[in-house]
Symmetry: C2
């Protein structure tokens, strides 16, 4: 079983992204984290490492653990507790992916059959639970009550965000504010926790912990906003995701909320028909939706909103001295916003 990361030079394109630079900067730590991940997803019940490695190794960017590792360096941390915690963060992320794919009935994840498609819903639910539990064991090993509180709380908030998303799905009258609550919960809270915990293990001031939390939270919001834009963008094919997944599920994201708010009565009628009961969707509806988004510039404006949160993330790092880690963490913000996949 090998864990594939973009550390492998053969996989690298000539254009090094800030994520590659980040992985280079913490290469030894990342290698150690990957070893912890492989070791801790082991179980005598063979289906568990089989399924877990299917998703853990499936070419994820390891963005969240990379944030933990870089934040720890930014805080001058010299110990090793951050390694297990970075693995715990990746396990929590993986567990939520497994459960999300079951909840969303997704058939693709990162360009290959999703775990639920490949192994069935039942093992996906249970292996998700297993990874959650192993994440908590990793935290216990790190021995910091405060870190456990941060990550347990993030997990509860993720679940709240996901449930809130369920209740807003198909509801075209969802407000931008309630959409923000959803993405703060389901995405940004784990980014925030991944960064904050490094300040805690490094025993830095509360001000620095809050700064890293703010960086992660706002980076996470920007990341999800752009993800939601990309779901309507042709370049999504490179992610292996079919364009329009959110549309097909009637998932209400900001590009739709803005198009609905800015649309004519006739357009709103269209949005209600296609989003409130996606089974009513017909050929050409997705194209019409994308045309309306273009007309009202809602994809562009959603990226602009992402830039706003990116700017907050940037300022949050202001109190840290200049260093290689800080430079790359700042570059990651722009990368997350300007990425095309």
């Amino acid at each position: 079983m090998t864990v594939v990361t973009n550390l492998d030079p053969k996989c690298r394109t000539s254009q090094q992204t800030p994520l590659d630079a980040l992985a280079d900067l913490v290469a030894d730590d990342l290698k150690a984290v990957n070893e912890v991940i492989i070791q801790r997803m082991h179980s005598s019940v063979e289906l568990i490492p089989q399924l877990a490695s299917y998703i853990v190794s499936a070419g994820g960017k390891r963005l969240r653990p990379l944030l933990t590792l870089a934040s720890a360096r930014l805080c001058g941390y010299q110990g090793t507790k951050h390694l297990g915690l970075a693995a715990a963060v990746e396990f929590i992320h993986t567990a939520t992916l497994l459960h999300d794919d079951v909840v969303d009935e997704s058939s693709l994840r990162r360009g290959q059959a999703s775990a639920n498609e490949q192994f069935g819903n039942k093992p996906s639910v249970l292996v998700g639970d297993f990874l959650f539990s192993r994440a908590f064991l990793l935290m216990v090993d790190a021995g910091s009550i405060e870190v456990m509180r941060i990550l347990s709380n993030a997990s509860a908030v993720i679940a709240e965000g996901e449930v809130l998303q369920l209740t807003t799905t198909n509801d075209t009258s969802t407000s931008e504010q309630s959409y923000l609550e959803v993405i703060c919960g389901k995405t940004a809270s784990l980014f925030a926790a991944a960064c904050r915990l490094s300040a805690v293990v490094a025993d830095r001031s509360e001000a620095e912990a809050v700064a890293l939390d703010d960086y992660g939270l706002n980076l996470g919001i920007a990341f999800q906003l752009v993800d939601d834009v990309l779901d309507y963008s042709a370049l999504q094919a490179r992610l292996g995701k079919t364009v329009g997944d959110d549309f097909l599920e009637g998932k209400i994201t900001l590009p739709v909320i803005l198009a609905y708010r800015r649309g004519s009565d006739e357009e709103r009628q269209f949005w209600r028909r296609v989003m409130e009961d996606p089974t009513q969707q017909a050929d050409g509806d997705l194209e019409h939706a994308i045309a309306l988004m273009a007309h009202h510039a809602t994809l562009r404006d959603t990226v602009d909103r992402a830039r706003h949160y990116g700017a907050i993330a940037r300022d949050a790092l202001g109190l840290f001295p200049e260093c290689a880690e800080k430079r790359v963490l700042l570059e990651v913000i722009d990368f997350v916003i300007d990425r095309e996949y």
Copy 2:
């Protein structure tokens, strides 16, 4: 929102069971635990407490938290940490029930529509995750690293047991040993953890912690063995469960394993047809299965196996001095084995 327990004298039959006696013995603590449960399942996302209380309040016996409370008294514990931990144990149990019902596609739980039937699979998966996370937050509040390790480990072992059960379902060649591994994981590990943690918070010797673990583990095995017998017993109707649920799902439990082992070639052919592909089941198959179990006395012998584990549980308590708590914990063993529902 009210949490219904069998503390309510109006609900009590004239025959007081050892579980009622146990609840009486720790009545104040149980009331406090119920308050923690109500408080900690709160969320601003309304669907969460709605769904959580649907199952948490649905007349569960609170057996696992009762074990924690009684064990704490047995250990002479004077503090209050056991209250939050007992609530955490119930949350973990509830989360696994929610996920189980999704995995098993159950439509009934304790005589009413299961949460997945009532609210759908998606919120059941996510509210399960929420309760898991809140359980960990409760442990964090109790502040004992050792207790967190015990319960995180139990959670991972539960998931392993459930996955193992998936891989043995429909497999008539499942051995008694591998069935035992399944029920140790999915049921007995949480009973064991619920008891052991009380010795840890009470700061008692490792020998006492191990004794309580052994008591819980073996009680849990006995409990599950009898549960599996009751699934083929007419009295199950009183539990609100349809008789033969396990049979319909092709779930391989000890009554089936023994009938298969003891059966003729023709009988084994029957078991393979009905268990390996339950869609092949026809009218009269369940009745025939029950007749074969009666012929080979596999229900009786499964209860006998339960008695064996009950005896181990009994001896495990030997090193504790005589007291009311010990007496009731011993009575609970017999009750668990001899119950008819």
